[in-house]
Amino acid sequence: MQVPAPFEYERATSVDDAVALLERLGPEARIIAGGHSLLPMMKLRLAAPEHLIDINDLAELAYIREDGGEIRIGALTRHRELLESELLAGLLPIFAEAERTVADPVVRNRGTVGGSLCQADPAEDLSAVCSAVKAQVVIRGSGGERVVGMGDFHRGPYETAVGDAEMLVEVRVPLRDGAGSAYEKVERRAGDWAIAAAAAALWVDGGTIADAGVALSAVGPTTVHATRAEEALRGQAPSEELFARAAGIAAEDCAPTADQRGPVDYKRHLARELTHRALRRAAARALHQEV
């Protein structure tokens, strides 16, 4: 029977309260947001926190807004809100595209962006999306806030830059001109975790790629930031040939392992094909050529 180990439960009344509880209760305390990753881990006894600090009352952490040339997303924003946001659909369609593939309505109604990023599952979709669009995350502790780029956020499998007495409060995505983004995923059945997935963002300025973001899910010990592929794209004119080359580099730089979802060769093949497709579509969007 899948029953979690016993734990104590607290409801945080504010972000400060949550941080204070984390500090007081120590490293065996965990925040619970949607609970769709943490509770399964507790049932399987892969996690046995002594205290859960529930942040679901913190309505001030649930928002998507444009502010100072950035999109700001509160940590408690649910998958469903990301899927349905008109603001995001216009500026960053990659979010809705990824969200359509995340689990099912039950999970999406409850699971949060903060929980997704902090879970840091290598197959998690939003981590790749946030990496590709060069998001930064805001981490709050009793000493104040710090802002960390996605490159420094992932520290290892299921490990992030968020410290024991800290919490993630916001995701910030810079808005720049000439942007296009896309997400490509292959899963076994509807709503399943990725066999492999690729997120791509391009910023095109006067016919050349000013900046590029490429990240992959489920093909390494953490979300794979394909920085060599990004370098290969930067400063070049968008073309099929270029995208094929960048996709090849991304596939070389990932490190899939064989599991229930597929063998290594197939995942690497997908990494290449899906990166190529995501780049192609991101470019079409950046150049307003989307069909």
Partner: protein, 699 residues
Amino acid sequence: MRVDPRARGAVRYSVDADMPGQLHAALVRSTVAHGVVRGIDVSGVAPGVTVLLPEDVADLPLYGCQIADQAVLAERPRHAGDVVAAVAAPTPAAARAAARAVVVEVDELPAVFDALDAAREEAPLLHEGLSVSDNDAAYFGIRPVAGTNICHRFRIRHGDVEAGFAAADVVVEGTFRTPAAAHVPMEPHATVARFTEDGRLEVVTGTQTPFNMRMELAAMFGLDEEDVRIVVPPMGGSFGAKTFTRQEGIVAALARKTGRPVKLVLGRSEEFLTLNRHPSIVHVRLGATRTGDLVAKAVTCWADTGAYADCGPGVAQKMGFAAPGPYRIPNCWVDAHAVYTNTPPNGAFRGYGAMQSIWASERTMDLLAARLGTGPLELRRRNLLRDGDAYATGEAMHGTCFEELLDRAAAAVGYEHDPAGKGLCLVMKGMQTPSRASIAIEREGDGYVIRCATTEMGQGARRSLALLAAERLGCRPEQIRVPDPDTDRVPYDTRTTSSRSTFMMAGALAEACEALLEDGRRGHGTIVNDGGLDPDTGQGVASTHWHQAAGAAHLEVDEETGRVRLHRVHCAVYAGRVVNAPGAALQNEGSMTMGLGTALFESVDFNEGQVTNANLSDYNVPTARDAAALTHELVEREGAPIHGLGETALPPVPAAIGNALASLGIELYDLPMTPERVLEAIDRRAAPSPEPDLEARRR
């Protein structure tokens, strides 16, 4: 408004059954796939917990519904997960903790995990010397092959197959594989049992086979059958998982040792160690004339029955007699084997061996059509069985409906308009033959009560019985009560399997209702279907009548990722007469959804005999969104007998999808058709066709 009791949480399922003063059980399982228990250390177990050890059950004989090969506790575990000890404690949590505290020391023995490897002479033997059970599930001639892991082999010898192939202009062949699959009922196996003061054994359990279980438990505990009572609450699904004796012997032995009632509910991961579907390897060779007349077919089936035979001999036999398929073939040769391996036991699973053999045979039909340059629809139409034709078992066909079913399925996907990306499959599946069903009906207040052993597992058996009786007695179905089957109170019935119950019980019920109308107070009815096959020639009567269906699929393939997108999968299923229309539709839907899982997603995976995906994140059953492309229809005929439909719409799905891929030159031989396998097959399309894999052929 009347709300379905299931939606109100008002149904008391097997997991909800309790007995006053009960203890809770947990099982201690072997972590090695094959070995001998050297010692069991219980020093870490908390006081107040009873541990059941092999010496406590040394007096209990081996059991097994067809071959007596299983001990209540395994002193020689034969699969990872085999139960070597059990505990009973005051709470489920205490029982789980105690089971974890038991330390088992096992000396490993060589193990074998694949049916073909296991059938080799030099393979490690799982069981030395086999004895056929004294149980009515062992109703056919079981033919173990001495000194091997083959616990049954079944043969069909019809016509002269060598001469048939010699006369063929075209011969195709292929080897097809299907993996182990899990039934995944929402409700796991659950049992509560006690010995009463007067020495009777009472068992409340989720099972499709109350009378088989009564026989087995009576033999196990040296009781008269009348001194064993089996009560069956509704099950939250079974699909074959809850057939014959599973955990019930262990629970009863714990009750005997503790002198208290004992309850056991298995966990989800334990379900994958309890009973799965037979993995299969099927080799088919099929010959035809240039004009497309089938002339010869040779099929070799290997059904991997796991560590214990369970009903594997019966499954292998059904795989064997489904192998000729619904076609006129003058010369047929079939060898079907059930083989032991060091994996969890495999048993009844919706389709009962038919799916495995239909996957192989129907894919081969399309290989042949491609070689002949004929359309797959035309090839099937040309050869299908019609009334009066002899099947490979020698029995004359009657009540056939294949042409209409095929036409309807083909029309649903517009097959004749354009066959690209489309595939067809015909299904002919037997019903349990021989068998017996009895039923009693009594007046009760202003209504009636039905005493019947047919178990409810979500298929709507009780609803169908109430509808049939109401029609006969001229009352409302709500006036008819169908209580939980209780072997103390209900007359004998073979079992609730094989999609036989609506047909068989309807026959018995008609007689019972007539008797009741005459008597005024009660009536009793019995129906028997005779038949059976000679296991050495496969001649006789395989099935009283045949479950028939046709499937059609329409899909497209992402050629760079191997991902399959279904536009539609349709099944036309022959019902004869529909008794309960919403229930029948749900059976089709459920069968097709399981068929879709079989086709694209599901496989219980092993590493050296250890299940590696015993959870519902890694073991993928279809979701509602995956099932969106499935449609079905029921075909009735004026005056025709009821045909069961609990399983018929499952087997068409994999082969229809496989043949739709084949129409694009993508030839799959193994299930499930995962994206990486589809991609491999796309890569193979360009290459010259490889030598056929003949490993599985006649050994």
